[in-house]
């Protein structure tokens, strides 16, 4: 089973498709979750997902915007899509019928 951050990273990679690389994934995660995402967390999780065979990475082109440095491009694999789908399904099923609004702190009798 995936971890929460692993799922967020896979989802951002899938959404960015051919434009998925370090900085773009980071911005995508920060925009969707409204939480900061550090370079350390991003790249160690990318390494872990690659080890598990859920993503593939390769070095892309250098751009002037990046000071002539290459991008680490990311692509989600079939196994990655399967793992993310399973995680999403599990979260959906476990959340069904849970009244979060009523369970807010201070809402209990």
């Amino acid at each position: 089973m995936l971890g929460e951050f692993e799922y967020l990273l896979l989802a951002a990679t899938a959404r960015l498709d051919a434009e998925a690389y370090g900085a773009a994934i980071r911005l995508e995660i920060e925009n969707s979750t409204r939480r900061s995402c550090s370079i350390g967390a991003l790249y160690t999780t990318l390494d872990r997902l690659e080890e598990k065979g859920l993503i593939e990475t390769w070095m892309g082109n250098a751009t002037r915007q990046r000071g002539g440095r290459c991008k680490r491009m990311v692509r989600i694999t079939a196994r990655g899509i399967k793992a993310a789908t399973e995680f999403y399904g599990a979260v959906n099923r476990s959340s069904r019928g849970v009244p979060w609004e009523a369970n807010r702190a201070g809402g209990r009798p």
Binding site: G22, T63, Q65
Partner: protein
């Protein structure tokens, strides 16, 4: 070059070349301040250095080599340095060798043999440490050097050299100089 950029270059140098390229490029593209970039890059380096410690091998290297072998080597090298320093001080101050019961040839022979043994065992220890530690080599290597350095070896050599020079120059009385690390720290801590 600005200090921040210099630090960023130094920190990223510990990463693999491809990752270094990707990370420095991301920092430039995201237009991060130097301070934030340094914090995030240190975080990345620490996380990557922590990864290998999830296996048992670096721990075995730490407990089995850094501790016992480091201490043993430092003690032996300290012994070699001490006997050499005693002879050197005796020659320098009084012009005669310190009588240890050995002839001059035997004295030189024992010094050379001990030195060679320390060099060989240091190499074997380093090789075993590198093989067992894997990617945790930098951490274990640094700890090994600290143990070796602080527990007498080269530090004692420095202290004895300082004693030798200060003695010869009559700058300080012989007894006022520290003999070992414990004394050195004790004197340094005095107000």
């Amino acid at each position: 070059m600005k200090l921040g950029q210099w630090l960023i270059n130094k920190i990223t140098r510990t990463l693999e070349p491809e990752l270094q390229d990707a990370v420095v490029g991301d920092v430039a593209e995201l237009k991060m301040s130097d301070r934030r970039a340094i914090c995030e890059l240190v975080g990345l380096v620490v996380r990557r250095q922590a990864q290998p410690w999830k296996t048992w091998r670096p721990w075995l290297a730490l407990v089995g080599i850094v501790g016992p072998v480091g201490v043993l080597l430092s003690r032996i090298s300290a012994g070699v340095v001490t006997s050499f320093s005693i002879q050197a001080i005796a020659y320098w101050k009084y012009g005669v060798p310190y009588s240890s019961g050995l002839t001059e040839a035997q004295e030189i022979e024992s010094l050379v043999c001990f030195s060679l043994a320390v060099i060989c065992w240091s190499w074997v220890g380093g090789f075993a440490l590198g093989t067992l530690s894997g990617d945790a080599f930098y951490v274990n290597g640094t700890l090994f050097c600290l143990v070796w350095f602080c527990l007498c070896g080269p530090l004692q050599m420095l202290i004895y050299s300082a004693r030798l020079v200060l003695n010869a120059l009559h700058l300080m009385p012989h007894t006022a100089l520290p003999h070992n690390l414990a004394q050195f720290i004790f004197f340094a801590a005095l107000p």
